[in-house]
């Protein structure tokens, strides 16, 4: 498979922060290539650097060293607004704490990524996305009026409404009970398949990780792929 099929490529990525006067190495020479349509999981103990890597791959932050390409864009050479443009066009997010805007209804939350892209069909597309996650009846409800599972389903609708190339998910079931988490995970993978989206997921849930095509382990700033049968 050629490198042009890689929707994400990271090489020699490191992240170092200053803690007091001492440098703290969070990531060390991390490299990874992810193909279009793949699903990968990153597992590891708390503080191992999983979320930091997710943020770097999504262009939310810049590494201290190394190169990252996302959808053909070398985001490590871009400024913040250029990276925002890449995120708007190619990336969707699902978070552990849902991150719905409390003062917007479920429908308005789902419309938001399309409004940022100046899409005229934002309302219709958002209604369809909410229908896909079974929340069409809750469209005008505010996040505080939804259960945790419903909030995460609304977040999934928001993440997929713009049909992103890549979905970054940070512990998507971490705030949900097992049963609800299972349903949300089913929905996540189903929508991922439907949209041919590349899924990059950080999780502690090994069961959830096992549903991904590839699994990486983050350990003390080093990333290694688990070999699977």
């Amino acid at each position: 498979m050629s490198s042009s099929d890689n929707i994400i490529e990271a090489a020699g990525v490191s992240k170092t922060v200053e803690v007091g006067a001492r440098p703290l190495h969070i990531l060390t020479e991390v490299g990874v290539s992810i193909q279009r349509g793949e699903s990968i999981a990153i597992v590891g103990v708390s503080g191992s650097g999983k979320s930091t890597l997710l943020g770097l791959l999504a262009g939310l932050d810049l590494p201290s060293g190394g190169v990252i390409r996302v959808a053909g864009n070398r985001i490590t050479d871009m400024n913040e607004d250029q990276r925002a443009e890449v995120r708007a066009r190619h990336v969707g997010f699902v978070f552990q704490s849902f991150q719905l805007m409390p003062n917007l209804t479920a429908l308005e939350n789902v419309m938001l990524p399309l409004e940022i892209l100046n899409r005229a069909d934002a309302g219709d597309a958002a209604r369809a996305a909410l229908a896909r996650v079974g929340l069409e009846a809750r469209a005008i409800h505010y996040p505080r009026q939804l259960s945790g599972g419903e909030q995460q389903r609304a977040a999934l609708a928001r993440a997929f409404v713009s049909v992103p190339d890549i979905l970054f998910a940070d512990e998507p079931t971490g705030n949900l009970d097992n049963q609800t988490g299972q349903r949300v995970a089913d929905l996540l993978f189903a929508m991922n398949d439907e949209n041919h989206t590349t899924l990059v997921m950080v999780t502690h849930n090994l069961g959830l990780a096992d549903r991904c095509r590839r699994v990486f382990t983050m350990d003390n700033g080093n990333l290694s792929e688990q070999l699977r049968a």
């Binding site: 999504a58 939310l60 932050d61 913040e80 607004d81 443009e85 940022i116 100046n118």
Partner: protein, 837 residues
């Protein structure tokens, strides 16, 4: 995001936040700031315009042109072109006769425009009740002063002759609005209609007349006319406004305007504190939204536009609501004091509302901008790590920008650089000292905490732990207290000064021509009537004829050759001591040591400063005077300023003891008489027929009325400032409410009782209040030391009681307000608070 979508998103978010009650504190702070400021602006502008109009009644117009000869028609045409209304009075001395009696009087012939401002007061019977009319006498009638009736033994309705005409003395003239500071004169007034003047045949070429043209109109037109007129004045012509004619009243008005400027400045300062505190809180609440928007692809510019649009919408809402409330507040206030105000109050101007709207935008954007700009820099990875916050804005940018904005607004609104710099210096002192003191205090508290009772330890620990927030709140409270103290102190001093300037028992009647032989009997008579007459002053009439041996006219400029003091007899007196309200500005009083030169055996004279300047009289000059048939001399020992508005006998020339012994002396006296006792005057005049009574009560009432209005305005404005201060306090407390709710919930979850939390809140807020009170007093003392002397011309002395009382009151009030506002911490469900996290 397109601009339309940015605006829609901003408006939608704003509406939802308003519905959820999250904007209430910021909006309330803005509304109170704008409403108090707008109310003060409306109130001061309307009262000020009304007061100026009322005060200008004193000179009969907004501007007066006095001239020794007829004024060129183009001068009057120009006034008409500018839309000014006019009135004309011709004044000249003449003699009237009734039967065999003749009397020298001051005739004043007025046209139909008279009086341009205020009203003439007349009575139907001697010392009877007066009636105010906004017109002069009808043709053939004359309104004359009471003493004319005595001197000529007339009764109201009797005829008298002036020149070739016959007039009916129809009413007793009690008050002319434009008499100005020459309110007592030895020639009694006769007021006639200008239409009758020609028929008298008195005025001939070369007659000594004074034309008085009064003008009134829009301030800008008056100012434009004055600027046009001044360079065109002919010799013997003078133009003057209120300030020149009645410096005392003008001075009180100036001080009032400055005080009101200060009050609106304080409202602005409080607004700045409230908005900055609420704005920072507003910004912090939007970190998560901003991070999420950026995560989803919003650019930094989009974020900035969205939040600036929100602020703009909020400012417009706050400006409109605040402006409307401000209008209602001032309307209510004016209605409440309607009894003290003239019938016609200057109308409210739409421009004041517009200015409030602009101010809302400037204040809200100006003071929240540094916080809001941070929103565009919220790291997008905050969606993964909620502890990430944007880098703080440069302290220089935040404080420097805010200080520059405050200073610019202060200067714009007050037009007074000294006051602005004074307030800024006080503010800077409070901030600097606060920083140092609080730093030291927190270090000390940290060390002392372990030994403190548990009841107060928790609250004080909160202060130490939240030291940055506590420091900013203490500074906010300190500034608020400082601002309010400045206003309270200055108001108290000003009102006291104004009221002391005209005490309730100020003399309102003057008695002239008391003969030497009648002195004792006169004093006894007053005593029997229960009138406190006080001292009698000797008076000699004399005309100033020569200066250092040469005629006076040779020493003065062309313009001053028509000076009244050279053309009429002056009232001269002698005194051993410097009269009260007089101040030596050159030379020495005769009791303060040897004068040198020819010694004290020579007659010495003290000359009033303005007269000395007009007539070019200097220390050591030799004046020649003429009294009756006698010519006599005196040497100028000193030059002295006089407070003409003190309603006591004042003199241009005061001589050393013994200087007037050889001259015919009469005596004058003044006393206070209530309106109810006016009829006692008739008995006094009957008992001593030679005396002349001047009734000053109408003029005195006019001036005290103005002072009352000014005082009332000062009181009302103080209430607005206090209200604004309370809201600032609430805003500052509300800014830390989220954190308090979370901590309270956690403590309650861990088993803390409500009583413990309440005590903790009391110790925290009361401690903050105590320190704020001390800082506020310190700042107020610094500001007042500057303002008292530089702006208000008041004597400054530290207010020692405030150092004790204010911190205690502040501790109690801020403690109570803080605990009351934090009741939610005790009532809110711990689970809900922790879930919101």
């Amino acid at each position: 995001m397109s601009p339309g979508q940015q605006l829609r998103f901003a408006a939608r978010q704003l509406a939802r936040e308003w519905k959820a009650g999250e904007l209430s504190v910021l909006l309330l702070a803005l509304v109170v700031a704008i409403s108090s400021h707008t109310a003060i602006s409306y109130f001061t502008e309307r009262i000020s315009a009304t007061m100026t109009a009322s005060a200008n009644d004193v000179i009969g117009g907004d501007l007066v042109l006095s001239s020794g000869r007829a004024v060129a028609p183009q001068v009057l045409d120009r006034a008409a072109d500018l839309g000014l209304s006019r009135a004309h009075a011709v004044q000249f001395p003449s003699v009237i006769n009734a039967g065999d009696e003749i009397l020298l009087v001051g005739v004043k012939a007025v046209d139909d425009g008279y009086p341009l401002k205020g009203s003439v007061k007349t009575a139907a019977e001697l010392y009877g009740p007066t009636r105010a009319v906004a017109a002069g006498p009808a043709a053939g009638e004359a309104w004359v002063e009471a003493r004319v009736f005595h001197e000529l033994q007339l009764a109201p309705g009797d005829p008298f002759e002036l020149g070739s005409s016959r007039f009916t003395a129809s009413r007793i003239l009690a008050f002319e609005p434009d008499r100005g500071r020459n309110f007592y004169s030895f020639t009694p007034r006769v007021l006639i209609n200008a239409g009758d003047l020609g028929a008298t045949g008195i005025l001939q070429p070369g007659s000594r007349v004074r034309h008085r043209h009064m003008f009134a109109g829009a301030p800008q037109a008056v100012a434009e006319y004055r600027a046009w007129l001044e360079p065109r004045l002919q010799p013997g012509q003078r133009v003057h406004g209120l300030g020149e004619e009645r410096p005392g009243v003008a001075n009180a008005l100036d001080k009032a305007r400055q005080y009101m400027g200060l009050a609106s400045l304080v409202a602005l300062l409080l607004a700045a504190v409230a908005i900055a505190a609420s704005g920072r809180h507003y910004s912090e609440r939007h970190y998560d939204t901003s991070a999420l928007l950026r995560c989803m692809g919003c650019k930094q510019r989009d974020i900035l536009v969205i939040y600036l649009a929100q602020l703009l919408l909020l400012a417009v809402a706050g400006g409109v609501i605040g402006g409307a409330l401000g209008y209602l507040a001032q309307a209510g206030l004016l209605a409440a004091i309607a009894g003290l105000l003239p019938d016609t109050i200057a109308p409210a101007q739409w421009s004041t509302f517009g200015a409030g709207l602009v101010l809302a935008v400037v204040v809200l954007i100006g003071f929240t901008l540094p916080s809001v700009v941070r929103l565009k820099s919220v790291p997008p990875q905050r969606v993964l790590r909620s502890d990430l916050t944007p880098l703080p804005a440069s302290a220089w940018l935040v404080f420097g920008g805010a200080a520059a904005l405050v200073a610019a607004m202060m200067w714009y609104y007050t037009g007074n650089l000294t006051m602005t710099l004074g307030m800024m210096a006080g503010t800077a002192a409070v901030l600097a000292v606060t920083g140092v003191l609080l730093g030291a205090l927190f270090v000390l508290l940290d060390k002392l905490l372990p030994g403190m009772p548990v009841k107060i330890r928790a609250g004080l620990r909160n202060l130490v732990r939240r030291r940055r927030q506590a420091a900013s709140q203490t500074m906010a409270f300190g500034l608020t207290i400082m601002a309010m103290l400045v206003v309270v102190f200055i108001r108290t001093e000003l009102v006291g000064t104004w009221q002391r300037s005209i005490p309730d028992d100020a003399p309102n009647h003057f008695v002239l021509n008391i003969q030497k032989n009648d002195n004792a009997a006169y004093a006894q008579y007053l005593s029997r009537q229960g009138i406190d007459g006080g001292l009698l002053y000797p008076v000699v009439r004399g005309r100033l004829t020569r200066l250092n041996g040469a005629p006076m006219i040779a020493h003065v400029s062309k313009e001053e050759r028509h000076n009244e003091s050279l053309r009429r007899d002056l009232n001269l007196t002698w005194s051993r001591e410097l009269p009260p309200d007089n101040e030596i500005i050159a030379g020495r009083w005769w009791d303060s040591g040897p004068l040198g030169g020819e010694g004290e055996s020579q007659a010495l004279v003290s000359v009033e400063a303005e007269l000395a300047e007009d007539l070019n009289i200097n220390l050591g000059d030799r004046l020649t005077l003429f009294t009756g048939e006698q010519e006599w001399h005196a040497q100028v020992a000193n030059i002295r300023s006089v407070r003409w508005d003190n309603f006591k006998p004042n003199f241009y020339l005061v001589f050393s003891p013994g200087a007037l012994d050889r001259l015919p002396v009469t005596w004058i006296n003044s006393f206070h008489l209530d309106a109810a006792d006016k009829r006692k005057l008739a008995g006094l005049v009957k008992r001593f027929p030679s005396i002349t009574v001047l009734e000053m009560d109408a003029i005195l009432n006019q001036v005290t009325g103005i002072i009352s209005q000014v005082t009332l305005a000062a009181e009302a404005i103080l209430a607005f400032v206090l209200a604004a201060g309370v809201v600032v306090t609430l805003a500052a407390i509300a800014a830390s409410m989220d954190e308090r709710l979370r901590e309270g919930a956690l403590l309650r979850t861990l088993g803390a009782e409500r009583m413990l939390l309440r005590r903790s809140q009391w110790s925290e807020f009361a401690g903050m209040g105590l320190v704020s009170g001390l800082l506020g007093v310190l700042g107020a003392e610094v500001v007042n030391a500057l303002l008292y002397q530089r702006v208000f011309e008041l004597d400054y002395a530290p207010t020692w009681w405030a150092w004790l009382v204010v911190p205690v009151v502040s501790a109690v009030l801020i403690g109570w307000t803080g605990v009351t506002s934090s009741r939610r911490v005790l009532r809110h469900s711990p689970a809900a608070a922790l879930r919101r996290g």
